[in-house]
C-alpha cells in the first residue's frame, strides 16, 4: 500500500473522531444560534425601542467582526482575562453560536416581516396574548419559511468551524494538520479533510431538505408560494 493511502487508513479513526467533534461543534453552535436567533428576531420586530437598539447592536457586532478575530478575542482575550476556563471546544461553540445567532436573527426577522400582517392581527382578535400569537402563529410559519436559508447558514458555519484549529479544538482541520505535520502526507490528508467537510455539508443539507418536505404546508410549495 502506498504511504499516501496507508496514512489515511492509519489516521482514519483519529480523523473520524475529529469529524464527530466538528459535527458536535456545529450542531451545538447552530442550536445555540437558533435559540438566540429566534429571541433576537422577535425582540427586534416586536420589542420596545431600547431592546431593539441593544439587539441590533449585537447583530451588527457579530456580523461585522471576522470569526477568527472573535475566536482570539474570546479564547485568548476575554476568557483568559476573566480567568474563565473554557475549553477550546466550548469556546468555538460559543463564538460560532453567537455569530450564527446574529445571522439567524436576520433570517428570522426577514421572515417575520414577510408574513402578512393579518396573521398576527387575527391571532390578537381571537384574544391571544402577544406571546401566544408569536409562539402559536408566527414562529411555526417563519421557521418553516426559514429552512432553506438556515441550511445555507449551516454550511457556512460548518466551514467556519475549521478556523477552530487555531486555538487547538480537536476538530477535522486541527487533526488533519497534526497528522500531516508528522507524516508529511499533506496532499492525501487534506483531500480527506475536504471530503469529510463535504460529507458533513451534504448530510446536513440533505437532512434539512427532508425536514422541509416533512413540515411542508399542504397547498404551498417550498418557497411558500401558493401552488
Amino acid at each position: 500500500m502506498p504511504a499516501s493511502l496507508s496514512v489515511i487508513v492509519d489516521s482514519f479513526p483519529y480523523l473520524l473522531q475529529g469529524t464527530l467533534n466538528t459535527a458536535g461543534i456545529v450542531f451545538a453552535a447552530m442550536f445555540l444560534g437558533l435559540l438566540i436567533g429566534i429571541a433576537v428576531a422577535v425582540g427586534i420586530v416586536y420589542g420596545k425601542r431600547p431592546i431593539q437598539l441593544l439587539l441590533s447592536t449585537y447583530v451588527w457586532f457579530f456580523r461585522g467582526v471576522p470569526v477568527l478575530v472573535l475566536l482570539f478575542l474570546f479564547y485568548f482575550g476575554l476568557f483568559s482575562y476573566f480567568d474563565i476556563g473554557f475549553s477550546a471546544f466550548t469556546s468555538v461553540t460559543i463564538v460560532l453560536g453567537l455569530t450564527t445567532g446574529a445571522y439567524q436573527a436576520n433570517i428570522f426577522r426577514g421572515a417575520i416581516l414577510a408574513l402578512p400582517k393579518g396573521q398576527f392581527r387575527a391571532a390578537s382578535a381571537l384574544g391571544m396574548s402577544n406571546s401566544q400569537a408569536v409562539r402559536s402563529i408566527i414562529l411555526p410559519q417563519i421557521l418553516r419559511m426559514s429552512i432553506p436559508a438556515w441550511s445555507n447558514e449551516y454550511s457556512i458555519i460548518l466551514k467556519d468551524s475549521a478556523l477552530a484549529f487555531v486555538i487547538g479544538a480537536p476538530e477535522i482541520m486541527a487533526r488533519t494538520q497534526f497528522v500531516a505535520s508528522r507524516t508529511y502526507q499533506h496532499l492525501p490528508l487534506y483531500i480527506a479533510a475536504g471530503i469529510l467537510y463535504f460529507f458533513l455539508t451534504w448530510a446536513g443539507v440533505y437532512a434539512l431538505n427532508k425536514l422541509s418536505d416533512a413540515v411542508r404546508i399542504p397547498g404551498y410549495s417550498h418557497n411558500g408560494i401558493q401552488e
Binding site: 384574544g127 404546508i217 397547498g219 404551498y220
Partner: protein, 254 residues
C-alpha cells in the same frame, strides 16, 4: 331601539396615523341583538373604527365600554379580555396558513380558552358544520376557496362565543360567485340574533340586515338612522345616494 342598556359603547373615538386624523370623535352605541352597518366612501375610516372597537388599533382618545365595563387601553389583560369577547372577520380572511381548517378553530380554544384538545375539536367540528364545511376540517387554507376560507374564519370567530361580531367587508375579497355562500352564513347569524357591526358595500346585506346604518366620511359619522329613515322613498341624503349607486352596480353586474 329598545331601552336596554347597550352591550357596547364607544365614545368620542379619536385616531390619527402620522398626523392625519383618521377618526375624529366617533360614537357607536350597540345593543344586544342589534346589527349596525357601516357604509361610506373608501378611506373614510370604517376599518380603523372596527379595529379600534376591539383595540387591535388603540384609540388615541375616547372611551370603550363592553357591558358597562370601561376598557383601560394601557392594560394588556384588559385588551386581551375585550378581544376574547368581540369576534372579528376580516376582508382578507386571515386564516392561519399553517393550520388545518379544524386547527384554525381549535388553536384559540386551546390557547385562550384552555380547552383540552378533544373538547376543542368537538366544538370546532360543530362550528364547521354550522357554516356547511363539516367535511373540510382537514384541509389547509391554501386548499380552500375564498368563500370557504371566509366561512372557516366565521366559524373560528364563533367558536369563541363572542358577544359581538365585527365584520370588515366580509365579502369584498370574494369572486362574485362565492359571495352568496358567505352572505347566507351571515344571514343565518343574524337570524339567530347575533350582535354585529359590519362594514359592507353588499347592498343585499345592508337592506336586509341593518337595524341601524352609520354613514362614515372623513373620520366622522355624518348620517345615522334606521334603513327606514335613511332609505325612505324620496329622501335625499348621502346614504340614499350611496345605496342607489351600489344598487346600480349590483344590477349592472347581473
Amino acid at each position: 331601539m329598545t331601552s336596554n342598556t347597550p352591550i357596547l359603547k364607544a365614545q368620542a373615538i379619536q385616531k390619527s396615523f402620522d398626523g392625519n386624523t383618521i377618526l375624529n370623535g366617533v360614537d357607536v352605541v350597540l345593543e344586544k341583538g342589534e346589527i349596525i352597518v357601516l357604509i361610506g366612501p373608501s378611506g373614510g375610516g370604517k376599518s380603523t373604527l372596527l379595529q379600534c372597537i376591539n383595540c387591535l388599533v388603540i384609540p388615541d382618545d375616547g372611551q370603550i365600554e363592553l357591558e358597562q365595563q370601561p376598557i383601560d387601553f394601557s392594560n394588556k389583560q384588559d385588551l386581551y379580555r375585550l378581544r376574547q369577547q368581540v369576534g372579528m372577520i376580516f376582508q382578507e380572511f386571515n386564516l392561519f396558513d399553517h393550520l388545518t381548517a379544524l386547527d384554525n378553530i381549535t388553536i384559540a380554544l386551546r390557547k385562550v380558552k384552555k380547552l383540552d384538545r378533544n373538547t376543542a375539536e368537538k366544538r370546532a367540528r360543530l362550528e364547521l358544520e354550522q357554516v356547511g364545511l363539516g367535511e373540510k376540517g382537514d384541509l389547509y387554507p391554501a386548499q380552500l376557496s375564498g368563500g370557504q376560507k371566509q366561512r372557516v374564519a366565521i366559524a373560528r370567530a364563533l367558536a369563541m362565543d363572542p358577544k359581538i361580531l365585527l365584520l370588515d367587508e366580509p365579502t369584498s375579497a370574494l369572486d362574485p360567485d362565492l359571495i352568496g355562500e358567505v352572505i347566507s352564513v351571515i344571514k343565518n347569524l343574524a337570524a339567530k340574533g347575533m350582535t354585529m357591526i359590519m362594514a359592507t358595500h353588499q347592498i343585499s346585506l345592508i337592506s336586509t340586515l341593518a337595524d341601524h346604518i352609520l354613514f362614515m366620511e372623513n373620520g366622522q359619522i355624518v348620517e345615522s338612522g334606521t334603513p327606514k329613515e335613511l332609505l325612505a322613498k324620496g329622501n335625499v341624503n348621502k346614504t340614499q345616494g350611496f345605496c342607489d349607486r351600489l344598487n346600480e352596480l349590483a344590477t349592472g353586474e347581473q
